[in-house]
Each structure stands twice: as C-alpha cells, then as structure tokens.
Amino acid sequence: MVKQIVFAFALLVTFAVFFYTIYRIYRFFTFTRPGFKVDQPGKRFGVMMSMAFGQKKIFRRPVIGFLHAIVFWGFCVILLGSIEMVIDGLAGTERVLKILGPVYNFITATGDIFALLIAIAIVVFLSRRIFFHIKRFEGIEMKKISHIDANIALTMILLLMLSLLGMNTAYTGYKALAGEVVDGMYPVSKVIYGLVGGGNEAGMHIMYESCWWTHILLIFIFANILPYSKHFHVFLSVPNTFLSRLEPLGKLPNMDSITREVKLMMNPETAFAAAPEDTPVERFGVKDCEDVVWKNYFDSLTCTECGRCTSVCPANITGKRLSPRKVMMDLRARMKEKGPLMIKNGRDYSDGKSLLRDYITEEELWACTTCNACARECPVNINHPTLIVAMRRYLVMEEASAPGELKAVFNNIENNGAPWQYSAEDRLLWANDLEINVI
C-alpha cells in the first residue's frame, strides 16, 4: 500500500510538471500565426505511418538509419511495458498484462530483445559523438550545450535500457529461485541470469524492486526533461509527421494579404469587397518568432539536431554560413527567450531583439538556393525553406532590403517583364531563321 501511495504521488508530480510545461508551450503557440489547415486525415495518417513507423527517410542513410529504426521500434514495444508498470504501480499488481497470454509472451520477449539492441545502438551513438567527431554533429550552431544535451539524453536512454534488462534479469532470477512460474518471456535476460547465476531469492527480489523503481522513475524524469531539450523530438516526431505540409516541396505558401493588396491595385471594385476593414494590419513575412506560422514552431521543437538537413545543404557544403539546422534551432531558442516575455507583457512586447539579425543573419538567408534538399532529407518532415523565404519576405517587403543584384532583378521584372534588362519586343528573336531538316 505504501508503495502504491508513493507511486501515485510520483506519477502525480510527473503529470503536474509535464502539463505545466506543455501548457506554457501551448501559450507560445498562441503567439504564432495560423498556417495551413490540418485536413485530409487519411492521407496524413499514411504519411505518419511511412515516415514515423516505417522510418522511411531515416533509411536514406541505411546503416546508421537502421540503428535509429531499432531504437524507434523498440521504444514502441517497450512503451507497452511502461504502461503496464504504471498500472502495476497504481494497483499494486505484478505484471498485470499477463492476462494477454501468448500476446504477453510476445510483447515481453520483443521488449527484452529490443532493450539489448537499443542499448547497443545507444553505445554506438554515444561513441560516434564522443570519439569519432562526425562532421554532421559539428557546425557553428552546435555549441557545447548542444553536445551535452545530446549526451545526457543518450545516457538516460542507456540507463533506461540497462535498468529494464536488470529488472527482467532479477525477475527471471527470483522467480526461478522461488520455483514460481515466470510470466512473459525474457530471452536476453534469461541468458544474462544464466551467466550471472546464483543469488538468493530475497536478494534477487530486492534487485528486481530497485530496478523497477529506477526504470519507472527514470521514465518520469526523462519525460519532464525532454520538453526542455532537443529530445522533445521523442514526443513530437510522430505528430509532426502527421502534421506534415502535404503540398509538393516546390510550392511556397501564398500570402493572401498580398493578394488582396495586388487585386486592389489591379481592380479597386473587387478588392474592396474582398478586404473587410477590420482585417488587422499584419507584418509581411517573418521578423521574429511570433511572425512564424504554428507549423514552423512545431518543426523547431521537433528538431533533434541530427544535421541531415545541413549535411545536404549546397550552401553549407560549400562553406557558406547558412545551416538549415541552425534556422530551426534559432527559432526554438528565440521563442524560449521571448515566449515568457510575451506571456507576461503581451504579444506586441518588444525586448529590442529579434529572430532576424540577433539570431539569423541576412547573409544566411540570402545563401539559400531553395533547392529543398534539407526538407527532402529531414526524417520528420521539417520544412526549412518556407521559413527562410518568409524571412526574405520581411526583408524585401518591410525593409526593402536585398542584395543589389536582386533589387536590379526586381526592377527589370517590373519594367520589362524579365529578370534581365531585355525588351519584351525581343522575345521572339530566338525563332528567327529557324529551319528543320526534311527527312
């Protein structure tokens, strides 16, 4: 009974802290702008199944991608075990899902195997970060804190897996020593117990209990650290794939406010009907974190800084300052800085800083070729180019700021309908003296 009360209290604290965090992040979302509608649930479900559960884009890098897939699929199975632990903890039962019979054997056996595989994968991930200095994990945006963040999360996952294996091993052990039936199947832990062997029943039971508590408390702590780390990814990736932009990568979102203005210029009658007077005056493009659409912010929270985007960015590859990963990290960091201030002082509050320039420089923005390699590569369907272009929109339309050559292009398009300074009169010159061989 004491155990149940302690557990219920721990669970309550976990949920309380978690929902407070989520509520704050929700408040941050209310500052962002509306984006596309989340329609076509069937299609979205399909995208989620292939991207998240099928790990489709992760496999664009087959070897390391496979290790990640193991971690992901393993988490899905082990999650069932964690749910069981919560029920057990509250109800005072032991392995309550055993009522599932053969299915339980399957769940426990796969969970046990995955625990080992995940532990191995995590060791590989950690050594890649600590010993091998993979280029993808470096870059101007990868400060010391980013590396610490990554290593803490990986270490926690490793501890989770070790405590799980310890729990299963001790469980197998104490059941065997007590001559009781083992519920579920634990192929890996059985081997481990066989190797370690011995022990007495009471000792094994204590070990089982302590691993159980370690594992579940680590989960509680982990769940509450995640939203403050890049590993919020664990919670948000699956929903982020469901919330993917479904349009072709080549398509930029239309600015309806501009359409109203242009139509006003081109035909005053239709435009007055289309633009109600209470339409709030909105800043064109993105200058600061509250100007982004909600999906940009969701993307930034989902980003786990894997750097696949940056590693395929032509600008970054050739040494320009642009890094698509940095754009996402900057947005997240800026909201973390300004969000609380806006909660306190309202959305219009200014702290004299902005996402543009204080975080993301013009030089970075103008280096993008909009080639969409970053968006194509991102395993969780983050879209960087739409945000980059939205920031260019602010620069050009609010500040009339652009590289000189581009200003010349704008002038040419406006004056003679082509990016170059040629007259429309010459548009058919290519067709002069055109002949075809008669075969």
């Binding site: 349009e247 072709p248 990568l249 080549g250 398509k251 930029l252 239309n254 600015m255 359409t259 203005e261 242009v262 210029m265 081109m266 064109f284 493009g285 395929v312 032509p314 050739t318 040494g319 320009k320 300052r321 030089e363 103008w366 280096a367 070729t369 909009t370 080639c371 969409n372 390699a373 968006a375 272009v389 920031m391 260019r392 929109r393 620069l395 050009v396 339309m397 652009a402 590289p403 050559e405 581009l406 292009v409 704008f410 398009i413 406006e414 309908g417 082509a418 990016p419 170059w420 429309a424 010459d426 548009r427 058919l428 010159l429 290519w430 067709a431 003296d433 055109l434 075809i436 061989n437």
Partner: protein, 264 residues
C-alpha cells in the same frame, strides 16, 4: 539535305485568324534571352514541328512568371506578375501549358492555382516521353553513338515535383551508356542557381556550388552532361569552363540530344 523554314505560331496571330492551338508553349525568359538556352528552345521547337503538335507561343506578350521575385521574397511583385499572366491566359483561353524551364513549370503547376490559375501544366520531358511511349517519337539509340551521358537533376523537377524517371528513360533510349552521379535523384546536389541565386553573387564561402556539382559530374567521366533547366545549364557550362573541360565535355539539354538523334 533539304530544309524547311519553321514559322513559330504566335497566339495573337492565331486568335486573329480565329484559330486556337491545343497547347501554349511557354518559352520563358531564359529561352527568350539567354543565347545558349535559345538553342534549346529552337531544338524543342523543331521537335514540336516534327511531331505536328498544335501549339503557339505568346511571343512579345510573354512576361516573367514572377518566380525569381517570389523566391527572393518579393511576394508583391510575384503576385502582380502572376495575376497579369493569368489574365493573358484567360484572354487566350489557355488550358494546357508546355514548359521547358522547371521553375516556370513549378510555379504554374503548384503556385498559380492559389491565385485562381488552374491549368494542365506539362513539363517537356514528360510530354516527349508520352510521344515515345505512344510510338510517335522513335529515338534511334545508335544516333548518338552510345556516348557516355550523365544527367543532372534540376531541383525544381526532381525534389520539388518528383520528376525523376522521364529524363532517365529518355536518356536511356538515346544511349546505352547513361551513368549516374553519386548524388542523384532526390539526393542530387543543386547547381547553385535556384532561389534567385542565378542573378546574384554567392555569399562568402569556401567554394562555388556549381564547381562542387561540376566535380560530381566529372567523376562519372562523361562525354555529355545532360541538363533540363536553363539555370542548371548556365551553371554547369560555367563549371566546365572553370575546369577547362569545355572542349572534351559538352553540356546539352535533353531536347537538343533528341533533336540531334532525330537529325532535325
């Protein structure tokens, strides 16, 4: 060999005669003004003539789609251009558009619908592939003498619109010696010209993107680098010059290769 003069049909003239073509052939600014790319347009026009396609161009009534303005952040200018173009299309009752430039293709297909411009937009490679499939366009694989060709995927055909197979199927019909770069299809590296980069100096860095991409191509030891975009063509041709390879290795558009194989 006997030759025949091609009179390129212009929309306004056809309408004046009370005729209406099936397709609008959108030439694009590069097609109209870039000396190298004019040759691509001429080659494609020869193929259209050879296939007896009912088409017309807008000629002097054509203008910029607004793509470079849009991607450089000038949404206002883009929409003014787009709405003007949509008006012109309305005037000529345009339903089907053939484009050679992938940037024009992308903006017509994906972005004009938001402004009320809905058309059947066909990329020239998809268009030609259909003629090959229908048996109306017969490519002689021997004509190019099995020359080694590598293909550079334009971002706005590939990643932006998932057109990967048609150019490859056509090239495989043209030569038995088509070779892929290491980074190809959705992994292809940009030539460096997209997003209005074509018109400006690159930001400071260690290297130009077009050189990086040209090196990708050179690693395949090709005789021809095939492209399907005016900007990619400019970039890779510059890359070949930079590498002093412009004598041995040529950069052609797929339309030019088809016209050559047909001896048009």
């Amino acid at each position: 060999m006997e030759t025949r003069k091609i009179e390129v049909p212009v929309m306004a003239d056809m309408f004046a005669r009370g005729e209406k073509p099936e397709y609008l052939f959108w030439v694009g600014c590069a097609g109209a003004f870039d000396d190298r790319y004019k040759k691509v347009v001429r080659a494609f026009t020869k193929i259209l003539t050879y296939l007896n396609v009912s088409y017309a161009v807008l000629g002097k009534e054509e203008t910029c789609t607004g793509d470079p303005a849009r991607r450089a952040g000038n949404e206002m200018l883009y929409q003014m251009q787009a709405l003007t173009v949509i008006e012109t299309f309305k005037m000529y009752e345009v339903r089907k558009i053939i484009t050679i430039c992938p940037h024009c293709y992308n903006i017509f297909k994906n972005e004009y619908p938001d402004l009320g411009g809905n058309y059947e937009v066909i990329n020239y490679l998809v268009f030609l592939k259909q003629y090959i499939d229908d048996g109306k366009l017969k490519i002689d694989a021997g004509a190019l003498d099995n020359v080694r060709i590598t293909y550079h995927d334009p971002c706005y055909l590939g990643r932006a619109n998932d057109i990967y197979s048609e150019p490859r199927q056509i090239l495989n019909a043209l030569t038995g010696n088509m070779v892929e770069m290491e980074r190809h299809k959705s992994f292809a590296l940009c030539c460096g010209a997209g997003g209005a980069q074509m018109f400006k100096e690159a930001e400071k860095g260690e290297k130009e993107i077009f050189i990086e991409r040209t090196e990708d191509a050179l690693k395949t030891d090709p005789a021809i680098i095939a492209t399907a975009c005016p900007f990619c063509m400019t970039m890779l041709t510059d890359g070949l010059k930079y590498k002093n390879k412009e004598e041995e290795i040529k950069n052609f558009d797929i339309a030019e290769l088809i016209a050559r194989s047909l001896n048009l």
